[in-house]
């Protein structure tokens, strides 16, 4: 089977992953409307391609928070990579480093931060944090990440409680006994009483700030009001995200929310987006609308499910090639030439 586009990896993963793992990765909240809207919303954006520009030399690299990456696609934080591939997050880290891009490791990794770090020394990595009821646990995680040279701290804001994913309830989803959420002292079970703290507020950004010198990136912002609050509370970056449609169903598609957030932020901090990226041209659209970089969630898991590190590299390479080709066909030879003029929203 030739792996020509990301859908090929999706089909493979659906076929070969255990149903309970596929369902967990695929799940959206409630009716999965937002999960699917994330993808459909890209279809409503059209390019306005420009002709006869010299695109013989293409430069698709960019920088995020000062670090160069080979192209503007990173790995979004997702949990439980061992469900997709035995080496779990170690494979993810290696693939990201091989492709010279950024990997945001999840609190809910099935490898420790130390294992991730050791698997791919020197790779660009950020650490994704949930603030726990047990604040000491969170503080310890932040400090471990900093010590391990993670270069950014991503605070997820959209999980005061876990979204209702019907298939997980039906399947009685829980990690197989041989996997653990190793970053936390004692393993805990998903879908039980959550250890996450639903009382977290904007003031906790100051608390985080006090713990670390790492730049803080806030993930889960969908409105101009919250974007403004994020900037005012001193974050360095914003990831426009709806958690892959796994939390509140029927919120906005992230590419639509991106427009609102970018407008509110007015360049004061970097803005990224995740959710619904399936083609290189989606990356181009997101950048045209103001994202500095995009992050992929499920496609990375499909890549892992296919062939671990090599499979994920395959996914990233396809996106890279498609992104480069889309840029060229739209008339852009470098990321700096990408702008809002390249796209328009369909009136339909």
């Amino acid at each position: 089977m030739a792996m020509v586009c990301l859908s090929d990896f999706e089909a493979y993963a659906k076929k070969y992953l255990p149903k309970i793992a596929w369902d967990y990765f695929a799940a959206g909240a409630d009716d999965c409307t937002t999960r699917d809207e994330n993808i459909l919303a890209y279809k409503r954006i059209h390019f306005r391609p420009r002709m006869l520009r010299d695109v013989s030399v293409m430069d698709i690299s960019t920088k995020i928070l000062g670090s160069e990456i080979s192209f503007p696609v990173g790995i979004a934080p997702t949990g439980f990579h061992q469900l997709a591939w035995p080496d779990g997050e170690k494979s993810t880290a290696r693939a990201a480093r091989a492709m010279n891009t950024c990997y945001i490791a999840s609190t809910y990794s099935t490898c420790t931060l130390e294992e991730i770090s050791a698997a791919a020394p020197g790779g660009l990595r950020w650490f994704q944090l949930y603030i726990h009821r047990n604040r000491a646990a969170s503080q310890q995680l932040v400090q471990r990440a900093e010590a391990l040279s993670f270069q950014g701290l991503v605070l997820t804001t959209d999980v005061p409680y876990t979204g209702k994913r019907r298939d997980d309830v039906r399947n009685g989803f829980r990690l197989p006994p041989h996997m653990k959420v190793k970053n936390l002292e004692r393993a805990f079970e998903v879908c039980k009483m959550s250890p996450l703290d639903p009382s977290v507020t904007w003031n906790d950004i100051y608390w985080l700030r006090s713990l670390t010198r790492l730049p803080i990136i806030i993930k889960g912002i969908l409105t101009r009001e919250d974007a403004e609050l994020a900037v005012r509370h001193g974050v360095q970056g914003i990831i426009v995200s709806n958690h892959g449609g796994r939390q509140l169903d029927e919120g906005p598609a992230t590419i639509d929310a991106l427009v609102e957030v970018v407008e509110a932020v007015r360049g004061r901090v970097e803005v990224y987006v995740d959710g619904g990226i399936r083609k290189g041209s989606d990356v181009l659209k997101a950048l045209a609308l103001g994202a500095k970089c995009v992050f992929i969630g499920r496609p990375a898991l499909w890549g892992l499910a296919y062939k671990g590190e090599e499979g994920l590299q395959g996914v990233l390479r396809i996106l890279q090639d498609e992104f480069r080709l889309s840029m060229a066909l739209a008339g852009c030879a470098s990321v700096s030439e990408i702008g809002q003029h390249l796209v328009q929203f369909s009136k339909l």
Copy 2:
């Protein structure tokens, strides 16, 4: 079979109810466009969720006409509950009381008001009235309801004649011989010459007013003009309703009409809505658009069909849990924080 969401109850009811009963409950007028639009219209409303609000302590209770209910979902008036479960409206009354919410008993109940009242003493109940050609019959019903401590009188306005529900015509629908519309002196048959009075006008509100001290809630309003008339005629509440799409087909979805009615009413009376509520997030949308409470029709019948009182409690508990979770994920810790800023209508 796990009952995870309301669709599970629907599937059960469709499978296990006699076809003639399922068809009767499911029926919409003509092409069933409005019945289905009631649901689809909710999909066109998106949330604008807010992050990092303290949602550790959730209060989802509210008040309707001064009575506290545990969450803003009541039971809409529907007929013939014995078609769904042998104990009929007695089970409904018990489930509503157990969940501490309001049950609007229909004139077309298969139990008497007295039986309903005795089944769940102390429960919050309103009585739904059709004005009959025989005004004395209606007057007697109102006075029985008041004597039995029903706390509101709901006047249905959209049935001067019964809507054309094709399946009922094909099935030759009528109640099985062992069931009766017990509240009326002599049983009558649906789909024959209706006992309802098609000459009722706004002036009859004054007549009703003269019969009872109960608050009058008017049900079936879909336009700003009628909302204004309702307020001027002194009602205490308005239920925006299209009778579940069973009367005039191709009128507005109720959630769309709600916006118009709320705008016209300007807070002078309480406004409620029924039709199309299938998830907790639908409740949140309705409240964001100005409803004080929603009422469920068919889902209550599915719950009854599944396991009587216990089944209906199951339906209500799912809605309650989903509503609480949606509120939290949207950043609201209490009903008073819900407002129009939480939603936007999709441009598509």
Copy 3:
């Protein structure tokens, strides 16, 4: 099989008519887009129903060009009724008279005007005319119609050439040998060199005017410009029509064009509409948007195909009952209360 709505008649006709006849009646031009749009466009119009109006006494009668009809639905001109029922247009004339409504007999009838007239003496009938290359033939037809007490002359304007109906071409459609277009001296074959005159212009209205004292109704108008021209050339009525989608594909749905035409006409002549009427509520929508009466084409043929005169009466009676019920549920007790306030175009 119960005949509950017009779709039941359609299903019957599709099942029992010879394929070549069904295909001929069902055919639309090219991709059949306009044929189908005629129906879909009604779905985009919503009612704004009003409550608590006295609808105990319903009057659904109206007048067209001074003649009273029992309800505002007439029979549009369609050809070849013998393809649907052996008695052909004689049955149509009888059914229309029985229901006290107007029947527009087609030039392409398989009975003569004299036979139609004799079959139902005293019925309200208009005669539909194509202007032929042989003007004497047309003149003779007009004068026969007038002599036979037809009370209106309907000039069809949208057939300078016959539309391309793919199925008719594939089927090699032609009348069976025992049927004839009897109104014309010598039978001619459809789908060969047309006898219709493609050089007809507005000036020919004056020529027609000179031939007869009958009111002239012009059929096939779809734009404000042509509506204005029609009024200026002295016609008494306009039928907004796209020939059931059988001529130019991808023109406007007739209910959409009606709005434009009514606006242009400003009450100077009566405006009617055909195409896409399938329910009584469609009639109500058309009247709310300014039509004085609607005409049905294919549904009349389905009625004939079911049981001749009796079948067509069945179709008309369903529309009548549905129209009356829709009016009542929308809060109108008589046709004069119907107005634009009753409807709104969906924004979707």
Copy 4:
């Protein structure tokens, strides 16, 4: 099997062509969204047909760059006609001449320009050029075309790199060994390192201008900005095209882009369009929106696949008949009467 409309030819070609050839011709880039949008966009344009105009004498001929053609439909440049029919482009040239219209021969023809020219002496032909890395090769082609009496030079601008057509990648598409891209000195393989020059810019128009006296038509323009640049750089015509949706996916449908380009050009040069033409009424819409002529790509290949020269004539004749009929039914007797007043964009 009767060939009644273009879809009939499409179905034939799909059935009888080798899969690899069908896939190559049918392919669109990525998700094939733009390929399909080209067709769908025509459906969103409605006619405003006018009645009672004298359409007894129809003139559907027009001129492009001064040359008369029998009707405004030419043959767009597509490659590898031998994949569809053994005689390849020779058949295409003969059919175009027989129908008295323009054929744009592709650089990627499987016959030489000399063979094409000899097959149909005197036919109106333009030559389509890609600018190669090897400029001498391009110069030689231009000069051969001019010497062979080609009357226009069409510069394709949207292929700095080849679009990603998934099926071609899966199939490992390449020409069968007995076919060659004969116009180029040495055959080259598609889907390998492209000989096309991605550094071409607007300045190369001046270089082309210096090579030939032929009018230069620029193909692939989709925005007002590029249309303005094209005019300023002295081209004689613009073909609004997205390469049949084979290059950048999710750009605009060509009929939508046509409006923008025509507006920008303000009559200074002729504007043509290709992509999505499947019916004569599509041609009428394109002309109403300002195109001087349309060009067909895939339908020409289906015609060839059916019966070579005769098949392609069949396709053209159907379009001609449908175009003439659409014009007449819309009230236009000659191409000069076609204008924007004939169409309107659907609000849906």
